[in-house]
């Protein structure tokens, strides 16, 4: 790229609005949270003396089995829901890449779950899962699959998976659209050549199609993982972390630490730990995007 006269000053002028907002709303608060995590700060109406306590919060956090459990649950949520979204999304994309009547309509239809607000999604599924009058119970009962009504979200063994189902329903379309767009760039010649070589559909998918679309898929997988890892809203509405804390994810844990127990110092250290794990995922994104674009 050629450098224009005065490009340097212009660059900063152009960046100024974005930089200001992001500095004030993201960079500075992040540093403040980092600082808080090394202190014994608490949220209180009275002015209090805050002192520096080094790594104490972190040592506490990493030896707090409840917090470690919540991290594990968050990872479980992330892997299972993103995994399911990818499998379902790619399958749907393959389906919608076929020739059939009403293809345009079907492609349009699957934007619906994505367009519905997360909170509405959570509320809808909570109603569907309702132990007394829920649609799921009624349907499964009428189909003869269950003998009696279940408390889907009240059962610690299945609650998390039910939340994941709701999350997958909402988010698989995104993966499907990305996969579909990538599928449309697979060169027909290559597939036809493979067909002439006698490769069956299964082989063609794994040897040609999948390697071709894996780049974009990786990007979306990491993006979705980052998003899933900070899951909060759907948990807040569907289970509030229950039953028996079985759906209490890391974000929810920190939220409670801050706003229920008012421990800003230790809460911040939890937040930073969650952030660090996110950073690993973000780094994964960086790699995937780089692989895909050559640039960032």
């Amino acid at each position: 790229m050629r450098s224009l006269i005065g490009a340097k000053q212009q660059k900063w002028l152009l960046l100024a609005p974005a930089l200001t907002v992001l500095a004030l709303i993201s960079f500075v608060p992040f540093v403040q949270t980092l600082w808080l995590s090394f202190s014994d700060s608490e949220i209180s109406a009275l002015p209090t003396v805050v002192s520096f306590i080094g790594l104490e919060n972190y040592i506490y956090a990493l030896t707090d089995p409840d917090f470690i459990d919540s991290l594990g649950r968050t990872l479980y949520f992330t892997f299972v829901s993103v995994g399911a979204e990818v499998i379902l999304g790619v399958a749907v994309a393959l389906l919608l890449n076929q020739q059939f009547k009403g293809r345009t309509l079907m492609r349009a239809l699957i934007i619906l779950p994505w367009a519905i607000p997360t909170i509405v999604n959570a509320v809808t599924w909570r109603l569907i899962y309702n132990p007394e009058y829920g649609a799921l119970n009624s349907l499964l009962m009428q189909l003869g699959i269950i003998g009696e009504y279940q408390s889907w979200l009240g059962n610690p063994d299945v609650a998390m998976n039910m939340v994941i189902l709701a999350d997958v329903w909402k988010n698989f379309p995104l993966v499907a659209y990305v996969a579909l767009a990538a599928l449309q760039t697979v060169p027909m010649d290559m597939l036809n050549a493979a067909r002439l070589e006698g490769a069956n559909a299964w082989r063609r998918f794994f040897k040609i199609t999948l390697p071709w679309i894996i780049g974009p898929l990786l990007v979306i997988i990491v993006l979705r993982s980052v998003e899933a890892f900070r899951v909060f809203d759907i948990i807040y509405v569907m289970t509030r972390g229950g039953p028996a804390n079985q759906t209490k994810t890391a974000s929810f844990y920190v939220y409670q630490e801050y706003f229920s127990y008012l421990r800003s110092g230790s809460g911040s250290s939890y937040a930073i730990i969650v952030a660090l794990i996110s950073i690993i995922l973000i780094f994964g994104y960086y790699k995937a995007a780089k692989r895909q674009n050559g640039s960032l």
Partner: protein
């Protein structure tokens, strides 16, 4: 495309069976939400359920769309707040985003900074929330739309920059050079030459930003406490958690809150999907 290839019969059956299953999976929850909002409370509490309402009940919609009524007021105020906040934040994000994207595309701004910007939205909001809470409370803007507009702008800007940047990158730079030689300054060139060319991308970014802001819950939950700033997701969470026992009311709120995003998504589908996919597929 292989339109001429005839599909064997069994594959055809398999295809249409899968499509039916997919349609059911996608549509069933939405349809059920709609049905719940139109069923009478007695239908909704039958065991097993009365799937098709014995009579259509529009009373909740009447209730919710009425400013005079308590629930209606809570709902409509939240819708209005969401509308104002999402629109303003999207607008700010677009303006800041286009300018910054131009700096990244054409003025050699460091890609490391771009990555730092993107990283801010990938971090969980819990890393920002407490200092923001204290700052807003000191500034006295807790529970105002302004605080949410600012937060949402920060949330939308990196994404807007990225989308705009991928679109500006592919424009031939000579066109801008021509404008500059003709005497136009950077802002003039942006406004009269670059923006009109990337208008579709701007449209996509605007809509995606609006939808993202409309959807946000965490900041809204924490920064708003009453009708003056509560957004629709918070209002829905309130409805579903609170005193309301009639599922129909909750369902109606959900339906109404979904109308703007669903309409946008359906009408501008191509735009939006290209925006969504843009960053990962074409690069």
């Amino acid at each position: 495309m292989h339109s001429t290839i005839k599909r064997p019969r069994h594959l055809s059956c398999l295809l249409y069976a899968s499509l039916t299953l997919l349609a059911f999976f996608v549509l069933a929850p939405v349809l059920w939400l709609l049905l719940m909002s139109l069923s009478s409370p007695t239908d909704l509490t039958k065991v097993p359920l009365q799937w098709i309402p014995s009579q259509w009940d529009f009373s909740r919609y009447a209730l919710l769309l009425d400013w005079q009524n308590g629930s209606g007021k809570r709902f409509l105020a939240a819708m209005l707040n969401s509308l104002i906040i999402a629109t303003s934040a999207s607008f700010i994000a677009l303006v800041a985003g286009v300018l910054a994207a131009y700096a990244f595309s054409r003025r050699n701004a460091s890609m490391l900074l771009m990555f730092a910007f993107l990283a801010t939205i990938m971090m969980p909001p819990i890393t920002y929330i407490l200092p923001l809470y204290s700052a807003f409370s000191e500034l006295g803007i807790l529970n105002t739309k302004v605080s949410l507009i600012i937060c949402y702008s920060a949330m939308l800007i990196p994404f807007a920059i990225w989308l705009m940047k991928t679109n500006i990158d592919v424009l031939p730079e000579e066109i801008e050079h021509a404008a500059m030689i003709e005497g136009a300054g950077t802002i003039y060139t942006l406004r009269k030459v670059v923006l009109p060319i990337i208008l579709p991308a701007i449209g996509a970014t605007a809509m995606l930003s609006f939808l993202t802001a409309w959807d946000e819950f965490f900041y809204a939950l924490i920064f708003s406490s009453d009708l003056s700033a509560k957004t629709i997701p918070v209002a829905i969470a309130d409805f579903s958690a609170g005193r309301v026992t009639d599922f129909g009311v909750i369902a109606s709120v959900g339906v109404l809150a979904s109308v703007p995003p669903v309409l946008i998504a359906l009408f501008f589908q191509r735009f939006i999907v290209s925006g969504l996919v843009g960053g990962s597929v074409k690069g």
